[in-house]
């Protein structure tokens, strides 16, 4: 009787802690991920000092995060200062989608970055868009962190 009660309670505690940890892994920012958007700097290069070249996206998403918008505002300022420079926005997807859909997704991600640059005064004539779909990952890993680095739009100097 007593024993079964103890076991029961123990079991409840076990369940409770499982639920808690499940919540914990879902919600918190773990290392270089916020949700499933990459926030680290591993693959990031710089167009100029303090101007990161890329922004990252959530799975199947093309919405720009707060951090992405900040990066793009820096890019826009740099482009305004260097009016002779044109750029290509290269849109990418991770390997967890069909090839054809990912080509479209990469195009949409790059355009989402392009639209934002345009709202900060950069002429569309200076920006071209190129989607690579899932063809050019920067990280060859098969795990959520690698995938998050690959869901990106990279601003590359065109001239």
């Amino acid at each position: 009787m007593n024993l079964s009660k103890i076991l029961k309670n123990g079991f409840l505690i076990l369940i409770a802690s499982l639920v808690l940890t499940a919540c914990a892994t879902k919600k918190t920012t773990t290392g270089q991920l916020q949700g499933d958007v990459y926030t680290g700097t591993d693959s990031v290069e710089y167009l100029a000092s303090g101007v990161p070249d890329r922004v990252f996206f959530a799975t199947n998403e093309t919405v720009l995060t707060t951090a992405s918008r900040e990066t793009l505002r820096k890019q826009a300022a740099w482009l305004r200062k260097n009016s002779d420079i044109n750029v290509v926005l290269e849109g990418h997807a991770d390997e967890r989608g069909t090839r054809e859909y990912n080509l479209a997704l990469g195009e949409r991600r790059a355009n989402s970055a392009k639209d934002y640059l345009m709202t900060y005064g950069i002429s569309s004539d200076r920006i071209s868009v190129l989607s690579y779909g899932k063809e050019r990952p920067v990280d060859s890993g098969s795990n959520p962190l690698s995938w998050s680095k690959n869901r990106r739009s990279v601003t590359v100097k065109a001239n």
Binding site: R99, E100, Y101, A104, N111
Partner: protein
């Protein structure tokens, strides 16, 4: 090259009034493949010498029988018996088999034949025998150029398969695909073509630019695919025979996901502009471009029904990738996939009754089929990553590609072609010289 099928069918199948006992049911998974004996084709000394000189094959009769044997085995429906157990010489068996001998080794069907060198050509005759009934089921002869010798084996298989299953075969066919090499982060991709059994592999591009998603025209002379030539991803058209290439249409942005219409007159594809992908067609004769879908979502992976009246495609207009159907003018759009997960790459079966697709659900990828109204969804195979099914011309087999999971260091990536029967049985890797993806199955080359 494909067009120049130098193949004369001289004798047609002799009419047979007898109702054969041997038959194979291909509508179910076949767990008891039919035991069949494929005798080496008889060959006379003179022919042997001639073929040896031209084709560098010691015994062409034996070689051709091996092609037939391998095809039958790969189909999963037949169990070719070991030649060592055969008691009868090929030439005598082809005249009149001693059925008791073949019965003894448990063969239910027997293929015999003869190959001869006549006027610089290869002449082959073959017979299919019902061992239990002790009767000839089929006899056929044809003549071709010696260099077509592998195709001879495929044509024999097609005829045997058709006679025993009641459906057209898929062995005298080719696969066009993307050959892959190099690190995952910078793959070198080439357009490649091979026979259905992996032989006669040939590269059609050099690997200087990224190429993706090749698809055959209905007559197999042309291929449409995506090329990143000069970093401008566009749909191209390639004539396999002449090597001539051209861009399809004059679009101010990326075109992708091309396929031919069933009459071969149009190419249907996606065109992406300002973050939106819609479906377009271009008429190859008058170059007229038509917009088929018009929606702010991503519309891609279009595929016609065999009668050309409908189009199935992939769209995320519901928020996630799902499969839709519309008529060939882009009207009456209807969503047909409603299961849990994401659905992509719908491909209409050549028989018209099914749509094959890729499904992503809970981190796993599936190849499946559903009826054209979305009912009867059936998942055939589950894996870490696989997609892009393409139908065999008889609609009984699907070929697709699979990618492996890399280890913690990001090593061990591979891409391979696989095939599976519509029944969900007979899953096999298709051997290729290099890593491979994006397979597209041709129609029957001879018909």
């Amino acid at each position: 090259m494909i067009r120049k099928i130098y193949l004369l069918i001289i004798l047609l199948i002799l009419p047979l009034k007898v109702f054969a006992l041997v038959e194979v049911d291909i509508t179910r998974g076949n767990l008891n493949p039919l035991p069949v004996a494929v005798s080496p084709l008889a060959i006379d000394k003179n022919s042997k010498e001639n073929f040896k000189k031209i084709l560098k094959k010691k015994n062409l009769g034996l070689e051709i029988s091996k092609i037939v044997e391998n095809n039958l085995k790969q189909s999963g429906l037949f169990n070719p018996l070991d030649k060592k157990a055969f008691l009868q010489e090929p030439d005598i068996a082809n005249l009149k088999p001693r059925f008791e001998d073949w019965n003894l080794i448990k063969a239910q069907a027997l293929v015999t034949g003869r190959v001869t060198f006549v006027d610089e050509k290869l002449r082959v005759e073959f017979r299919l025998w019902d061992v239990l009934a002790g009767r000839e089921m089929m006899a056929l002869a044809f003549t071709t150029v010696p260099s077509n010798w592998r195709r001879v084996g495929h044509i024999i298989t097609d005829k045997v398969y058709e006679r025993l299953t009641g459906e057209k075969g898929y062995f005298d066919t080719r696969i066009i695909y993307i050959s892959e090499k190099g690190p995952k982060t910078n793959r070198i991709k080439k357009l490649a073509i091979m026979d259905q059994d992996g032989f006669n592999n040939k590269f059609l591009t050099l690997g200087n630019e990224l190429v993706l998603t090749p698809r055959f025209s209905p007559t197999n002379q042309m291929v449409t695919y995506l090329s990143y030539f000069r970093n401008l991803p566009r749909v191209y058209l390639l004539d396999i025979e002449t090597g001539m290439q051209e861009v399809v249409g004059d679009f101010p942005g990326m075109t992708f996901a091309p396929r031919f219409s069933p009459d071969g007159k149009k190419i249907i594809m996606s065109f992406a502009k300002d973050g939106n992908s819609d479906i377009y067609t271009m008429d190859l004769e008058n170059r007229i471009v038509e917009r088929i879908s018009n929606h702010p979502s991503i519309d891609t992976s279009p595929s016609y029904s065999p009668d050309g009246k409908y189009i199935t495609f992939n769209s995320d207009r519901s928020g996630y990738q799902q499969i839709y159907i519309m008529n060939s003018k882009g009207k009456n759009v209807k969503r047909i996939s409603f299961g849990n997960g994401l659905y992509g790459t719908p491909v209409w079966s050549p028989r018209g009754d099914l749509i094959a697709f890729t499904k992503l659900h809970k981190g796993k990828f599936y190849i499946g089929v559903m009826r054209t109204d979305g009912t009867g969804e059936r998942l055939l195979t589950e894996n870490f990553y696989q997609e892009a099914p393409s139908w065999s011309p008889n609609g009984r087999v699907l070929i697709f590609y699979r990618e492996s999971k890399t280890n913690s260091k990001g090593e061990g990536f591979s891409a391979k072609l696989w095939s599976i029967d519509l029944t969900g049985y007979n899953e096999r890797m298709v051997e290729t010289e290099t890593d491979a993806s994006d397979p597209s199955w041709s129609s029957l080359l001879s018909n």
